[in-house]
């Protein structure tokens, strides 16, 4: 069945009430029956929940073949925990038929590709999928199609019982002996633990893996002991150098800066740019640099930002410390400045993924966003964005919070160079739709700005401010005149990944790529 963004979704995927994407806010007002986990009672007071090994903790939690294990990605490319747990489960306990439900997966998890090829891991549910795992899944080696969800879509699916987590593994920079966890105070700090919170509340069993056991009580806890079955102390949960970069530096690339300046001009031209406005930006070159130029406009008009959300990094913490933003609410930290600031700098708070972006709760932060500035691998003339598949059709990205913030915000700005090497970023049809065009408002490139024709009000704002803009077709034509018109990718019939829209409908599928012959 063809969905609202023109993608053909195979009928066999449309079972158990699954629908195709019908447009923004389609599920509004409907009811969701929340699932509840089956958890064990620990009535006899326990001195400690520390288990001697991951294997012991797995056994205590009744781990068996066919289960779903969950993980969160705050340790980013430095994470050791996913590999360590899967190795214990598969190689030491001999389990198979396992599903990994992670908030995201990266190249740190290359060893899992082997378990997929062996058929031990048969399901993957994640936001990000990259590296070797992206390659083997794209090659059709995973038994069931991978399910890709946004950061808001995942807590929706967990809370609604679409994903049942048997055992959640919490990578904790610090924990006490009963499982109160924090993202700071240890040797592998990650700051916010927002993505782990829903997992801990909805999993049948919860195992904390830490490399820094601290005195009870470890407060304020991001994941609380009341939800934790066991604590395992290991030598190291991750490589700190890859968990948080030293400091997210603002780009010096003149092209990035030019685009960032245009982003700030667009923002300043809208009626939402007023005292107390709210903002989220990605950490890509031009998106992050937009902070810098935005500050100039804020000073000029003597206004302050009310609050900012998202993955947080140094430049935003800097604005908070300068008093230019009222509050920062944080689901993940990207650099040490942000890690060291959360719950330390006044008004820098932690939030869960559900609170951040879940479309099925009663009001996530993204719904109150004025502006979001995001990057894209590709954007097509329908303003649909792809941040998941490369130009060769292989999985190597993550929708992350992209679709959630785009849908929730009043003004979603995509900033990207028109071409990257020979790849046309602005194109006729994106490989995979990860954020539907009805959620995207403005495109800023190094060759010009385009406004979604659905947003007549924003077109007027730009015109009034004297900001030149063109149609997105003109940008696409410019791109193709430089790099040539790309051949369409050729696919086999086999679906290797299903991309859920944030509301749970099916937005797109990724198929197995056909070998290319010249």
């Amino acid at each position: 069945m063809i969905n609202k963004v023109g993608r053909d979704i195979p009928d066999y995927l449309l079972k158990d009430g699954k629908e195709v994407y019908q447009g923004k806010n389609y599920m509004d007002g409907k009811y969701i029956q929340k699932a509840s986990p089956k958890t064990r009672r620990y009535e006899t007071p326990q001195e400690s929940k520390v288990a001697e090994s991951i294997v012991k903790a797995l056994k205590d939690c009744g781990a068996k073949s066919g289960m779903t294990f969950s993980f969160h990605h705050h340790l980013r490319d430095g994470d050791f925990v996913v590999n360590m747990v899967m190795k214990a489960a598969i190689e030491e306990l001999g389990l198979d038929n396992l599903t990994i439900a992670a908030t995201s997966l990266g190249s740190a998890h290359d060893p899992i590709a082997e378990y997929i090829e062996q058929g031990k891991v048969v399901g993957i549910q994640t936001s990000g999928i990259r590296g070797k795992m992206g390659e083997v899944v794209s090659a059709g080696k995973l038994k069931t199609p991978a399910i890709i969800r946004s950061h808001g879509g995942r807590p929706r699916a967990i809370e609604g019982g679409e994903v049942h987590i048997d055992i959640a593994f919490i990578a904790a920079p610090t924990s006490d002996c009963v499982g109160n966890c924090r993202g700071i105070g240890g040797k592998s700090n990650c700051g916010s633990m927002g993505y782990a919170m829903t997992d801990a509340k909805y999993a049948d069993h919860v195992v904390v893996i830490t490399d820094c056991l601290v005195d009870f009580p470890n407060m304020p806890a991001s994941v609380e002991a009341i939800d934790v079955d066991a604590v395992v102390v290991v030598d190291s949960i991750g490589n700190p150098k890859k968990i948080a970069s030293a400091a997210a530096r603002i780009s010096q690339n003149p092209r990035d800066l030019m685009m960032a300046e245009d982003v700030a001009r667009v923002i300043a031209s809208t009626p939402y740019f007023k005292e107390g406005f709210s903002f989220q930006t990605g950490v890509g070159g031009p998106s992050l640099a937009a902070n810098l130029f935005l500050e100039k406009y804020m000073d000029e008009r003597n206004i302050k930002m009310g609050w900012a959300i998202g993955g947080i990094c140094g430049p935003m913490v800097e604005l908070l410390k300068k008093g230019k933003v009222g509050k920062v609410i944080d689901v993940q930290d990207f650099d040490l400045d942000a890690v060291n600031s959360i719950n330390q700098t006044p008004n820098h708070f932690e939030m869960s993924a559900s609170q951040y972006a879940n479309p099925a709760n009663k009001g996530a932060f993204v719904n109150k966003l004025d502006f979001v500035v995001l990057a894209a691998l590709e954007i097509d003339t329908g303003f649909n964005v792809n941040v998941l598949t490369g130009s060769d059709g292989v999985l190597r990205g993550a929708p992350g919070g992209h679709p959630d913030t785009a849908a929730g915000s009043k003004c979603c700005i995509i900033v990207t160079p028109l071409i990257r090497g020979r790849m046309a970023t602005v194109c006729e049809h994106v490989v995979t739709v990860t954020t539907p065009g009805d959620c995207v408002d403005v495109l800023v490139t190094d060759y010009g700005i385009a406004v979604n024709p659905l947003r007549k009000d924003l077109i007027e704002c730009l015109d009034n401010a004297g900001i030149k803009h063109v149609t997105i077709e003109e940008l696409k034509n410019k791109a193709y005149s430089l790099v040539g018109r790309p051949d369409d990718l050729e696919w086999e019939d086999k679906v290797v990944a299903v991309l859920e829209a944030r509301d749970g409908t099916i937005l797109d599928v990724v198929k197995k790529i056909k070998p290319y012959k010249i």
Binding site: D392, G393, G421, R422, D487, L489, I513, Y516, I518
Partner: protein
């Protein structure tokens, strides 16, 4: 032009292409690797073959490792490798490209 000895042009930097030409056996043998193979492989192949044709090269083993180069870059790299292979790059170089 006749390929007299192996020669190379270009780099493996992003947006460039590295071309190696070697004497052939009476035909053009092309081996192509590209970071944008699925979308541009056929166009790259056509560009390389056309460029060789216009330079009058009929016998060569050509290896190209493309890192997303634009057509103008591909033409320039192929042309340069061919010139170098027959000592035409010593003097009277047609700056701006023999192949337009």
């Amino acid at each position: 032009m006749e390929i007299k000895k192996p020669a190379m042009a270009g780099t493996l930097e992003s947006s460039d292409a590295q071309v190696t030409v070697e004497p052939g056996n009476g035909k053009i043998e092309l081996s192509l690797e590209s970071s944008v193979m699925n979308q541009y492989g056929r166009q790259i192949k056509d560009t390389v073959l056309e460029t060789l044709d216009r330079l009058g090269v009929t016998s060569a083993r050509v290896t190209m490792v493309d890192k997303g180069a634009l057509d103008c870059t591909i033409k320039a790299r192929v042309e340069c490798a061919v010139f170098r292979s027959c000592d035409a790059s010593e003097s009277n170089i047609p700056w701006g490209g023999a192949i337009k």
